[in-house]
């Protein structure tokens, strides 16, 4: 009895350290261990259950191993032969039955959660529908209920369920916002994936592409911005408002001919490249160059980032399909002018 307590005393601090380690890991807007929504919370609960079971298994195995290795070392002068044991039916049944039991304990909530999260909400009237289309190397978000399209920053109202429909325009990608929910692949037409999550609290959450998709796979990041219902409604209206073009007519003409053949602002331009409406107010330029914002240490002024991107898109995101503005015949001054215009193009909704 005394001995067992000794073992437990040694294991308890280990458990405490481990759970501390788990809960203290990572950023709130990024870590799967600091869930910010019910889906991620359920997933973390499952992880905690499985980790608890697994730690019990580890402790038992490690304890037996340690005991055996210390107790049954071959000592000097030991010549007698150990008894050649064939096996032990009872013991073997025990260590077949116990793992089976542990597996059942984990399997039941696993199956429950699979079906709970797997509900198709795309026909739910209360849910906000979002069609996610992944591209090498950016994210497109379409809201069919409001007839608007945006890119890179996914704006959602807090508390509402967001019903996603995922697809890809080229290779496979995977849509992942660790602090809100696990990932889901974006497949080509025909095998569309659906899933949903919600964010109860306002905030900006970091999203990533989790499936190797080419050279700039690492740079295919996006943000999920949860705002209040009022802000969200204002954002929708602002998105639908007519386009704001550069005041300088000459620059506006350059912008139209060079940029709007692929990009869109408001009601103008094309859908082939990320929608630029309100680009100056986004969390990052090109998804990866973080913009300065309040309460955040990192990030550069949006104008700097915009210039860095426009002067050499390939150095920021290797292999992306945007032609270098220089190769389109824009001068440095014109590029700076467009950068300044885009950096100041913000939607007032927060």
């Amino acid at each position: 009895m005394m001995k067992q307590w000794q073992v437990a005393k040694r294991i308890l601090p280990l458990l405490a350290v481990f759970s501390l380690l788990l809960s203290a890991c990572g950023r709130e807007d990024l870590s799967a261990m600091k869930p910010q929504g019910p889906v991620a919370q359920d997933q973390l609960d499952l992880m905690k259950l499985s980790i608890a079971i697994m730690i019990v298994v580890l402790i038992i195995v490690f304890a037996i191993a340690a005991y055996v290795l210390i107790r049954f070392r071959r000592r000097a002068g030991q010549t007698e032969m150990p008894e050649q044991v064939e096996g032990n039916f009872k013991l073997e049944v025990i260590w077949t039955a116990i793992p089976l039991l542990l597996v059942i304990i984990l399997a039941v909530p696993t199956v429950q959660t699979i079906f709970a999260h797997g509900e198709d909400l795309t026909n739910d009237k209360n849910a906000v529908k979002v069609q996610v289309t992944s591209h090498q190397y950016w994210w497109e978000f379409t809201y069919p209920q409001y007839d608007i399209t945006t890119a890179q920053d996914l704006i959602i109202p807090t508390g509402k369920k967001i019903a996603f429909e995922l697809k890809t325009a080229d290779v496979l990608h995977s849509f992942w916002v660790p602090s809100l929910a696990g990932k889901m692949d974006t497949n080509p037409d025909g095998t569309l994936n659906k899933f949903s999550f919600s964010a109860p609290n306002e905030g900006v959450y970091r999203g990533k592409c989790a499936e190797l998709c080419g050279r700039s796979h690492a740079f295919m990041e996006f943000k999920v911005k949860a705002v209040s219902q009022e802000s969200f409604d204002r954002w929708v209206n602002a998105m639908k408002a007519p386009a704001v073009l550069p005041e300088d007519t000459q620059l506006a003409e350059k912008f139209k001919t060079n940029c709007l053949s692929c990009h869109a602002v408001g009601d103008q331009g094309g859908p082939a490249a990320p929608n630029l409406t309100g680009i100056g107010g986004k969390e990052a330029v090109a998804g990866i160059l973080l913009n300065q914002r309040e309460g955040q240490e990192e990030g550069k002024p949006v104008l700097d980032n915009m210039k860095e991107w426009l002067h050499d898109p390939q150095s920021v995101k290797e292999g992306n399909t945007m032609p270098s503005p220089k190769s389109l015949g824009l001068t440095d001054e014109e590029i700076d002018g467009i950068a300044e215009y885009l950096a100041n193009y913000k939607l007032d909704y927060e």
Binding site: A32, A40, Q78, N88, L106, Q136, L172, G190
Partner: protein, 629 residues
Amino acid sequence: MAHAHSVKRYRGLMDWITTVDHKKIAVLYLIAGGFFFGIGGIEAILIRIQLMKPMNTFVSAQVFNELITMHGTTMIFLGVMPIIFAIMNAVVPLQIGARDVAFPFVNALGFWTFLFGGLLLNLSWVMGGAPDAGWTAYTPLSSAAYSESHGVDFYTIGLQIAGLGTLIGGINFLATIITMRAPGMSYMRMPMFTWTTFITSAIILFAFPAITVGLVLLTFDRILGANFFDVANGGNPVLWQHIFWIFGHPEVYILILPAFGIISEVIPTFSRKRLFGYSSMVFATILIAFLGFMVWAHHMFTTGLGNVANALFSISTMLIAVPTGIKIFNWLFTMWGGQIRFTAANLFAVGFVPTFVMGGVTGVMLASAPADFQFHDTYFVVAHFHYVIVGGLVLGLFAGLHYWWPKMFGRILSETLGKWTFWTFMIGFQLTFFVQHFLGLMGMQRRIVTYLPNQDFDLLNLVSSIGAFLMGVGVIIFLINIVITTRKPVDAPNDPWEDGRTLEWTIPSPPPEYNFKQTPLVRGIDAYWKEKMAGNKEMTPAEPVGSIHMPSATPLPFVMSVGIFIAGLGLMFSKDKFELEFMNIIFNNYIVVIIGLLITFGAMALRSLYDDHGWHIEPEDQDEKGART
């Protein structure tokens, strides 16, 4: 009695190219596998240098993608598998009391196709870009539209040729173990390593055809313009994932079961006890192999197969924990009540047990589909499968190599250096991969060339890289150990560990060309141990001394493989435009392919038409000394 054939004996390099002796082929596998393992290791170190700090620019994104693809592909197909085959070739015929494998010629062919496939794959580094779509080569990223260099062609064709060798090898071991066991060795008296080789070979037989088909389809898509995986033309990229993983998951068991076998030999020997629960070990192995084919879709939970599929594959995956658990406890209770000696080989074996358990429990965690939505494609998964493949298989291989080295080469590896290898490698391994569990949970996805600072990734990545260097040091110490040992005289006794239990320890180290002068009679499990306990010095023979039939050495397997290699290269470049018109003519008209195939089929015809009866070693030429020094 004997045919009076004159024997063609080759010397030097030609001896190695023409050999059909399973012991020499084992050495060839070991050298080639070690070479590729080194390349894969260097790739790993480069990856870890790149990820040492945030926003590092040590390599470009393109090169990084090539490095991760080649690291995975090389380690799985060209690094650890051949070393497994080396040990199987060196040990299995000896353990079952056979004079060679069932098909020595085919055995040599298996090695040479593997080698030329591996060389072809690695030629990509110097011939215009390595494959860059990940070792899983998911379409459409691996299609000609998105991976424009020849990289993925090297992958499909190189692996096809190398895979041929593996399939051949697997079939050969099946035939060998089924037909060539010594009298008295029933299935339930076979040593555990032979058992796992047998089951592994069966998995190879069923799993490799899947990847073969997959690679053919992808080759057709890329080179001949087919549309198996192209949605726009009625194909489906998810199909590739199914084909790949219905091979890929059993592949994990192809890797780990032999390690289980090695551990089941080393632990009893150095505990001086028979394996605890032998029959449950056998059935656990069979069950693992069976379940291994049932769980492929757990790699595809996030692909979107639906709730029912996810639920079923979750449960079937978790079930694998049960037979694996049986094995773990059986090993622990083999040591219970024994007299454990901590030789280098046994250090690796006892180190294997807890490390593999770590990899196993994270496997069960991954099996829970909703949780896997968070784990999948992150460093958590990277940590998990490295715990299984490095912490399981590579530790197992080190244990096996230290254990059987004296049998293979007649020299015992330095115990001191072996222990240094163990501690540096083990500590380095834990440093590298333990922290990666947390990186994954904190949001670091796998296969990323770099990461932004201030995401709490920096310190753990640094720790991981330092660990990787330490693992490198461990491997270098092992190489030094080999070099030093090779310079020592051949003096290992038949049974260098003194507690050998199986048949390989009854014959000289290294064994003579014919292994057993007289086939032994097996009277129980752990045949040699049983004789020793009965007070006998050696096995009772099952036959009188007589003339021993040997297969002839031949360069044909080598030639056949060269032919396939040439045909592969020719197919790959059949659509290219060269500056030299001559090159255009021979490549674009498939002339190179035809030449390559003619060489292969010519060699096959020669093999079929020329009747080679082999030769005999007469009793007066059968000396007890090892044939090789």
